[in-house]
């Protein structure tokens, strides 16, 4: 691209931009975190009961995986486009859409984790007089936890990236700044800073969840 003489510089990295817009950057980051946290939270609220309900029934398991797979295949923009006329240009639209995308990986990892609990372990727990609920709560879920948390990590990293698309319904967190930079004559510093924050957010979330996994499953430490 030819830069006409006398046009102002448009650097990708600008400390001045960050300093002058720290409040805007902070607010966008906060909204981004909110979008992701709500989506992962609702995703777990839907995926865990559904997964527990269908597990052990082959047909129902593949039905649930199929349904969440279809949801996952629908492009985010298409989902927002169909939801927006109903739920409006709101956070709700984005969170419903993003929640939908977390379901496949959350359900799949929960089912894989539960299926991986050795039958002998179940038997001995029953032999100790555990009922099905205690068995689930004290034996099966803890043993499935690493798989579940691995799913939460994958879902979180993808959701951080995907949340930017929320910009089409005016609630895209850091995506909002990326789009604003596009419309402000390609204001590179704004575009790049928001992108870097997004990637950093994904990395930090991933590390925090890894730490949580270590903390919650001390027996798995090598």
């Amino acid at each position: 691209m030819l830069v006409p003489p006398g046009s102002p510089p448009n650097p990708w990295i600008s400390v001045d931009y960050v300093r002058e817009n720290s409040d805007v950057l902070l607010a966008a980051t906060q909204q981004h975190i909110e979008l992701v946290a709500l989506s992962i939270g609702f995703g777990l609220l839907v995926a865990v009961p559904l997964g527990l309900l269908v597990r052990g029934h082959r047909r129902l398991e593949s039905l649930l995986l199929g349904a969440t797979g279809v949801l996952y295949t629908i492009p985010s923009l298409a989902l927002f486009a169909v939801l927006a006329p109903v739920t409006g240009l709101t956070v709700t639209t984005v969170v419903i859409g993003l929640t939908g995308y977390t379901l496949l990986v959350l359900v799949r990892n929960l089912l894989t984790g539960l299926a991986g609990v050795p039958e002998e372990v179940r038997e001995s727990a029953r032999g100790m007089g555990m009922g099905p609920l205690r068995l689930l709560w004290q034996v099966e879920l803890p043993l499935a936890l690493p798989a579940v948390l691995a799913g939460v990590r994958v879902a979180t990293v993808s959701t951080v990236a995907l949340a930017t698309v929320g910009v089409v319904v005016s609630n895209g967190g850091l995506g909002q700044l990326i789009f604003e930079g596009l419309n402000r004559n390609l204001y590179r510093a704004e575009i790049f800073t928001a992108t870097v924050l997004c990637v950093l957010l994904a990395a930090v979330a991933d590390l925090l969840l890894l730490g949580l996994e270590r903390l919650l499953t001390p027996w798995a430490r090598r």
């Binding site: 295949t73 492009p75 985010s76 298409a78 486009a81 990293v157 596009l182 390609l186 994904a202």
Partner: protein
């Protein structure tokens, strides 16, 4: 009238199927952009991943490919599209193809590499023992055995690219995303929803048909 009715009326209106702004033209555009991107990505990914998988000379290379593909999940597609717009690549369909090529690379690289590298070493040794050259082993043993995974990679890449091509409308590209972007822009909920339905249908049809192809290529165990 309800939104559902409005959307159906929009989809049934013959006027929306004519000219540059018509559904058929936008669909062809969408498929053309996506197809070009997947083809370009395959042109880069296949030789590189096959070579890394086949030759044991650079064991680190494969690991690098896998971690790079993993890390790419954290980079928002939307951000890359906008950033490319701010480079000499610029706006429009050609820029979109460049961006989509980047997004198609990770699944193609990962699956092809894992497919070739994952071929049973005993089988490769046996082929070598029978006097096959490196190239013959690759053509007659490794590639056929890797084909199901490579096909899975193409499927993932294609579905992902078709989905992402929708976003291109926001950086001046064409395709079916135009209906969504213009629908939002003109506050026309029927057009927005119709665009969403069309894109979702395209993605699902592609996923299902490529799934069938993939199953054809996968030997029953």
């Amino acid at each position: 009238m309800s939104l559902l009715e409005d959307t159906l009326v929009w989809l049934g209106d013959r006027a929306h199927y004519r000219g540059v702004d018509g559904v058929p033209h936008r669909l062809v555009e969408h498929l053309w952009i996506s197809g070009a991107a997947v083809a370009l990505a395959a042109l880069v990914a296949f030789p590189l991943a096959i070579w890394l998988g086949h030759s044991p000379r650079f064991p680190r290379g494969g690991t690098a490919v896998l971690s790079l593909s993993n890390a790419s999940r954290a980079v928002p597609v939307f951000a890359v599209l906008v950033m490319l717009a701010a480079t000499p690549v610029g706006f429009g369909n050609r820029a979109t193809i460049v961006a989509l090529t980047l997004f198609a690379l990770p699944p193609l690289l990962t699956n092809t590499f894992v497919g070739v590298r994952g071929v049973d070493r005993d089988v490769v040794e046996a082929a070598r023992g029978n006097g096959m050259s490196g190239g013959q082993v690759l053509r007659a043993v490794e590639l056929p055995l890797a084909l199901p995974l490579i096909a899975a990679g193409v499927r993932t890449a294609a579905v992902q690219v078709v989905a992402t091509a929708t976003l291109a409308a926001y950086v001046g590209g064409g395709g079916l995303g135009r209906f969504i972007a213009d629908g939002f822009g003109q506050a026309d909920p029927a057009m927005t929803a119709a665009g969403g339905v069309l894109v979702a249908a395209l993605a699902l049809v592609l996923e299902l048909s490529l799934g069938l192809v993939q199953r054809r290529l996968t030997p029953r165990s």
